[in-house]
């Protein structure tokens, strides 16, 4: 135990040292390089602007709203479609290869399409987030409903469950279980999707700020914007874990997949 703790501390010290060295080197670059790379101090300072400036705060709100509204709509659509397709085994079998085919489409590559067809406003962004994010909970739900443990299903039927009981005691918990499991990656993807769309063309949002900063030669703003996204994503992820906890009590503690 002692050696493990020692190794850990040593490694963390080494990591801290690496970070300090990197930041130090970055801070000390010449002015010309700094004009397109900026310096750590500048980035940290600009980070503060994101918290204090009302305009920047509004941009955060826009991106957040695009991501969350899109996520909720996508989740609802995923539940509905996965449920409908699983009402009959034949239907699910027939649908499966079509669903697998949609997996190949790189969702973010659809961004220009949505910009062209729906414009660059808030609704357009939400539409894009919905379509992109939809597949994450959909695949999870579709397969969860499809592969409900047959032994458990037989057991519950023998105990006397009717159709409605099966839905309430077997299928809905399966849905909730796989939904909560896929929500974390869906949330992360929703955020990325919203920002990418804003980077390409938008009038508001964190991505818009990053893009503008790029065009105006403000690398510090670009990087602080990226940091904001990172922090936002991290905080949302932790919040989600907290919300999920009552729903996951019955799960076996598994390997944490990032």
């Amino acid at each position: 135990m002692n050696t493990r703790l020692r190794t850990k501390l040593l490694a963390w010290a080494a990591a801290a040292l690496t970070i300090v060295l990197l930041l130090g080197w970055w801070q000390g670059i010449d002015a010309r390089t700094a004009s397109f790379l900026s310096r750590p101090v500048d980035v940290i300072q600009d980070l503060g602007n994101w918290a204090t400036s009302p305009d920047l705060r509004a941009d955060i709100g826009v991106t957040l709203a695009e991501a969350i509204v899109g996520l909720i709509v996508a989740a609802i659509a995923a539940i509905v479609l996965a449920a409908i397709l699983n009402t009959s085994r034949l239907l699910a079998d027939v649908a499966e290869p079509f669903i697998a085919a949609t997996n190949s489409i790189p969702k973010l590559a659809l961004a220009p399409l949505f910009i062209l067809v729906f414009g660059i406003g808030f609704n357009a962004k939400v539409n894009f987030v919905v379509v992109s994010v939809f597949f994450i909970p959909f695949y999870a739900l579709f397969f969860a409903l499809r592969t409900v443990d047959p032994t458990i299903r037989a057991h519950v039927r023998i105990l006397g469950a009717g159709r409605l009981h099966l839905i309430r005691d077997l299928y809905i918990p399966a849905v909730i279980g796989s939904l909560t499991a896929s929500m974390r990656s869906a949330l992360a993807f929703a955020l990325v999707t919203a920002v990418i769309a804003e980077l390409i063309a938008a009038t508001a949002g964190i991505g818009y700020q990053i893009s503008s900063a790029g065009q105006n030669g403000q690398p510090a703003r670009m990087l602080s914007g990226v940091l904001v996204i990172g922090i936002l994503g991290f905080v949302l992820d932790r919040l989600l874990l907290l919300v999920e906890r009552p729903f996951s009590r019955w799960r076996i503690a598994g390997r944490r997949t990032t």
């Binding site: 006397g160 009717g162 005691d169 076996i252």
Partner: protein, 280 residues
Amino acid sequence: MPDAATRAGGDAPLLTIDRVSLSYGGADAAVDAPVAVEDVSLTVQSGRFVSIVGPSGCGKSTLLKMVSGLERPSAGSISVSGTPVRGMRRDVGFVFQTDALLPWKTLRDNVGLALRYRGVARAEASRRAQDWLSRVGIGSLGDRYPHQVSGGQRKRASICATMVYEPELMLMDEPFSALDVQTRDLIETDVLRVWEELGNQSIIFVTHDLEEAIAMSDRVIVLTRGPGRIKADYTIDLPRGRDVREIRSDPRFAEIYQKIWGDLRVEVLAAQDRQTTTAR
């Protein structure tokens, strides 16, 4: 056939299996599909503990599924308590080999589930479920989730879940094969005790462990290798009130074992032969 097939008794049999066959692929299988079970006939009275043994693939699990209504026979008929089996039976209990408890419900809620389906109020169902959990020694685990307790404790809960509505016919499909020997012995003793307390319940117990079968049953039926047919039907005249471990040292036990093993061994070896040839 070596020994008596049915007990003398004036009352109508609880379970009648009449010339039942099942081909792989279900009730609408092709004509030349391989056969799981062939022309099996069997009757069981109330209050008996009957084991079915046979080599792997002899169709013993399939037979059990047909009695419960989970599968339909391709030929023949089955009736329980005088009514033919058509679809799922609610007066029959089934304990599976693998975990069947709902992972998202506590043990107590799992055990009370059948009662809730039968319209029993929540409080009453909970009380009766708790009672059963205590009877098998896991009364303190009512609020735990299945993943929080051991395999043996889960199995006890599964048995309670099916016993709680006191079905007249209880089917068990290799229920203890996943447990270690000591846990198995303890659970088996408890199962026998609870069964004897209930009085007129019949249990049909499928296993590949002949010792287990003899230790627990009144009657052991041997199936041939697939397609399964009844090869032999033995009455076990060991006294009741048994302890599953101690009964094995009864001299009669060894005699009975040798006799039945004589029949079973042939089938097991032949089945293994066939397995290795098909694997090549």
